[in-house]
Amino acid sequence: MSAVTTPARNASGGMNVKTLNRIVIYGLLALFALFYLMPLFVMLVTSFKTMDEIQNGNMLALPKAPTFDPWLKAWGETCVGLTCAGIKGYFWNSIKMVVPAVLISTMLGALNGYVLTKWRFRGATLVFGLMLFACFIPFQSVLLPMATILGSLGRFGVTLQNATGTSFGLGNPTVNLVFVHVVYGIGFTTLFFRNYYEAFPTELVKAAQVDGASFFQIFRRIMLPNSMPIFVVTVIYQFTNIWNDFLFASAYAGTGDSMPMTVALNNVVNTSTGVVEYNVNMAAAMIAALPTLLVYVLAGRYFVRGLMAGAVKG
């Protein structure tokens, strides 16, 4: 008899334990999510409050009279160092730097991955190994040598300017940052694309060769159109990294009109004109974070898919 009843009792007991487990797991997850989202919440709420409300109210309270003024002020009026024209100029600086840096590094990564997998040459593995190694070089160790190189490029730019009337962008801080980020990013973008193309059927390349397509025609017509997932992954990764970079930005474009958003944001917060305008600072920080947020929202679903595609064959 007991042999018959025991499994039933176990089953019902198992159900209870299972439900309890679920409650604990989801409870903890909710707690962590809350903890993680708290700063974002405070930022968002504060950016819509007036200074009075901030000074007299609760930090976590919702704004009583939501106002867009801090956002407008951050965008167009707040002081960055000595100039008080808002952060909009610096926002565009970042865009002007990030877009070419992301596109160039992604295209070079794709080209590298294509060559390293479909046009194998003697020592291809070694080259790839060295490129992988580039992913592990710490930022700090690059700072000084890169400063020297950029200095030389700048002087060469001046020489060019004198000789031809144009410096071809050499010595321009934005161009310098694009250069630095492209060089530093190639390791990662190559890694992404190589792993993706490793699983890419080589027969397609052979078929295109028989069809008479050239090296670049195969790349443009066959490889790239079938690389959407990894392309998105690489763009998100590079965009986030380059947009958020502070170290290179402050080292090579830390002053003047061409400083990127991250440096400008730091200066907004550090510029004191009497009272600290928390709402404006928070709004500026939100504006600085928006583009990366937007990229994730628009292309996020490809992100996981692309990461998987690179990792698992097929």
Partner: protein, 371 residues
């Protein structure tokens, strides 16, 4: 002069020699099948003809022109790949016309060529679909369409049917044969399936370890294998290769087959191959195909030389169209092919007719044919 000529072709990857001097030729409109177990170099050979692999030495000529160092697109060839290799981002029409587009053929002309090929292969209704929306057989057709549309001198097929299920494979095999018959194109075809080789080819090259073991018509390969490997590889069910010795019966040579717990079978031979007399009293391999080992009533009537012997039947396999019986000779299971309605019971003894005109003999030491 043959249409496709391959002379002393060698291919080396580092220290490993993949192709060890291949000599093959094919007449215009012929169908050459390269067959062999995996790793024998047949796909590499095809890739060298296509120009997708370089060659170490030797010469490949098509229509009298040496194409050794030409780019694949300049060789006037078309290739059908094992995985079909359809471009996933293009429609069927785009796939078929990509090659023409690369060669700068005007759009109107491309459209005309697409329509023509679509009609031949009956894929007109699929032209605007993407490859992912097609079934296996349809993809196969599109892959062939992409090759056909170029109207090349030479078609190369790299195991085109191996990804299809059994029934579709038979259908497509017939379709390829029909296509070859109607268009009269010259085809080189790689497969590991010896039935595909037998049914499609006008010439077969059986390959092993980078060497051509035998090159000839399907009938030559089937009836006159030059060595043990070819005899064993071609034919299904495989040829019975029975260890035996050569004895005498009267003043003729005879084949002596050992049996379990019984006296050996002694099959006298009326016209043994000349080389066999040197093997008197020595071991040989006696090769007889299942259809040449049958019940006496089902034996070929006009075969000049048939010897009959009692055999102990171990297993009977009725296969519908035939009945296969397994007996044990020389320590091996030996398959005999009987009529479907042959009255035969496992565990009994039955007379079997050996058609000795179809029998072949091999030297066990060198594995070559004794002629």
């Amino acid at each position: 002069m043959a249409f496709l000529e391959i002379d002393g072709l060698r291919k080396r990857f580092g220290q490993v020699e993949i192709l060890k001097g291949i000599d093959v030729e094919l007449e215009k409109g012929g169908f050459l099948v390269l067959v062999g177990p995996s790793g024998c170099g047949k796909s590499t050979l095809l890739n060298t003809i296509a120009g997708l692999e370089t060659i170490t030495s030797g010469e490949i000529r098509v229509d009298g022109r040496t194409i050794n160092d030409l780019h694949p697109s300049k060789r006037d060839i078309a290739m059908v790949f094992q995985s079909y290799a359809l471009y996933p981002n293009m429609t069927v029409a785009g796939n078929i016309s990509f090659g023409m587009e690369m060669r700068g053929v005007p759009a109107a002309e491309r459209q005309k060529a697409i329509d023509k090929v679509a009609k031949v292969l009956q894929i007109g209704h699929l032209l605007q679909r993407k490859p992912s929306q097609l079934s296996g057989g349809q993809r196969q057709r599109v892959a062939m369409g992409r090759a056909l549309v170029r109207d090349p001198k030479l078609f190369l097929f790299d195991e085109p049917l191996s990804n299809l299920d059994a029934k579709l494979r038979v259908d497509m095999r017939i379709e390829i044969k029909r296509l070859h018959a109607t268009t009269g194109t010259t085809i080189v075809y790689v497969t590991h399936d010896q039935i595909e080789a037998m049914t499609l080819a006008t010439k077969i090259a059986v390959m092993r370890d980078g060497e051509v073991q035998q090159f000839g018509t399907p009938a030559e390969i089937y009836n006159n294998p030059t060595n043990l490997f070819v005899a064993d590889f071609m034919g299904s069910p495989a040829m019975n290769l029975i260890p035996a010795t050569i004895g005498t019966s009267g003043n003729a040579l005879s084949v002596v087959l050992q049996r379990e717990a019984r006296e050996p079978i002694n099959l006298p031979m009326a016209n043994a191959p000349a080389g066999l007399s040197a093997f008197q009293g020595k071991p040989i391999i006696f090769g007889v195909r299942p259809e040449a080992l049958t019940d006496p009533e089902g034996a070929e009537r006009n075969a000049s030389h048939i010897a009959t012997a009692d055999c102990h039947i171990e297993v009977v396999e009725p296969a519908g169209s035939d009945t296969f019986a397994v007996t044990n000779l020389g320590g091996r299971g030996v398959v005999a092919r009987l009529r479907a309605d042959a009255n035969i019971q496992p565990g009994t003894s039955t007379p079997l007719a050996f058609n000795l005109t179809k029998a072949v003999f091999f030297d066990p030491a060198t594995e070559t044919r004794i002629r």
